[in-house]
């Protein structure tokens, strides 16, 4: 039963996933941790960390959440729920895209969605910051990452490795 519920919850979310799965972090947290108590706060953060450290599209954090909630069936159900509805829509719409690309309402939606996506990503960041249970060192590491990421073109993978090392050393 949980698998069906998981599928329906995530399929609903896929329709508002402007900005991809990253933008959905706060709402997935709400659904999975607060509403259904399928996972606790720490596990949720850990899954986000694992998805960060693995190659692939951002959507895989959804797979991990599904796995923890309901095993392999949950992993597949959650991933499918996130990808399938919009895939069907896009399959049907792509041939007509030329017809409405550039129309005033289409541009208005694109422009209008952008600031909401900014807010969603920012909310996701504050959520992880709160849920991760960071000590002073961790807070500093967040700040350091922001500065380095904005000031240099360093591959984020190095920062992730640094985070893992500092965490291993118990400084975070």
């Amino acid at each position: 039963m949980t698998v069906v519920e998981l599928f329906l919850e995530f399929a609903l979310l896929s329709f508002v996933a402007f900005g991809g799965a990253t933008a959905l972090l706060p709402e997935m947290h709400r659904v999975v941790v607060e509403n259904h108590h399928w996972l606790d706060e720490t596990t949720f953060t850990h899954l986000y960390a694992i998805a960060q450290a693995a190659p692939g599209p951002n959507v895989l954090v959804v797979t991990l959440i599904g796995w923890k909630v309901a095993g392999l069936a949950g992993a597949l159900a959650a991933t499918l729920a996130m990808c399938l509805p919009m895939s069907v829509v896009i399959y049907l719409l792509i041939d007509r895209w030329e017809g409405f690309a550039g129309a005033r309402w289409q541009k208005a939606i694109s422009l209008g969605v952008a600031p909401l996506a900014v807010g969603l990503v920012f909310s996701g960041a504050t959520l992880i910051a709160q849920a991760a249970g960071l000590a002073w060192g961790g807070a500093l590491l967040v700040l350091l990452t922001v500065v380095i990421s904005l000031r240099s073109k360093l591959n984020p993978l190095w920062l992730i490795a640094l985070g893992a090392l500092l965490g291993l050393a118990g400084w975070v």
């Binding site: 996933a17 960390a49 694992i50 599209p57 792509i94 694109s110 807010g119 990452t145 990421s149």
Partner: protein
């Protein structure tokens, strides 16, 4: 005729090529693989020109959901119809999915160890910093900030502080913000 044929003939990927092409994309990036999709499609395999890529990406970015999965559906359909539209995203996700599930097994086995917990906390801290940086960059790229940045604030207030359900926040936000955008577009 003969030469024109040679120039115009573009490689037309079969299902196998679609699967492996998108597999390579899925496995090559950390934290977002869209730039790798562009490199594979336009530069390496030349399945489409840069203009074609941008045009197709338009709808993928316009609609919600994982952009790169949407893109795989579009490219798959273009070359191999329904079968392609299924095979391409499956190719994109299969490899990373297997890796992530392997990591999940490791997490189940060793996740409760203090060193694993410390390591994951460190990675989460970096991931959190990357998200803040991403939000900052996206915010900087907004046009007409005086009109649109308030909607970012509205979203953060609704989602992060008041904990309203996201579908409602998005519908309300999109009507208001899209309305302002529609009005601004009319003035130009």
């Amino acid at each position: 005729m003969f030469t024109a044929d040679k120039v115009d003939t573009k490689p037309r990927p079969d299902l196998r090529a679609l699967f492996f092409g998108f597999s390579s994309v899925g496995l090559s990036g950390f934290g977002g693989v869209l730039p790798f999709a562009r490199r594979m499609l336009v530069e390496q395999r030349r399945w489409m020109t840069a203009e074609e890529f941008n045009a197709q990406l338009g709808l993928c970015q316009f609609l919600p959901g994982p952009n790169v999965v949407n893109l795989a559906v579009v490219v798959g359909k273009r070359y191999q119809g329904l079968a392609g539209a299924i095979v391409a995203p499956v190719g994109l996700l299969a490899g990373p999915l297997a890796i992530v599930l392997l990591l999940a097994l490791l997490y189940d086995a060793y996740g409760s160890l203090p060193i694993a917990q410390g390591m994951l906390r460190g990675i989460a801290a970096v991931g959190c910093g990357l998200l803040f940086a991403m939000a900052w960059r996206m915010g900087k790229a907004l046009r007409d900030k005086a009109y649109f940045l308030p909607f970012s604030v509205f979203t953060v207030a609704g989602i992060a502080m008041l904990r309203w359900p996201m579908p409602w926040v998005m519908v309300a936000g999109l009507i208001l913000s899209g309305g302002v955008a529609y009005w601004r577009l009319g003035k130009k």
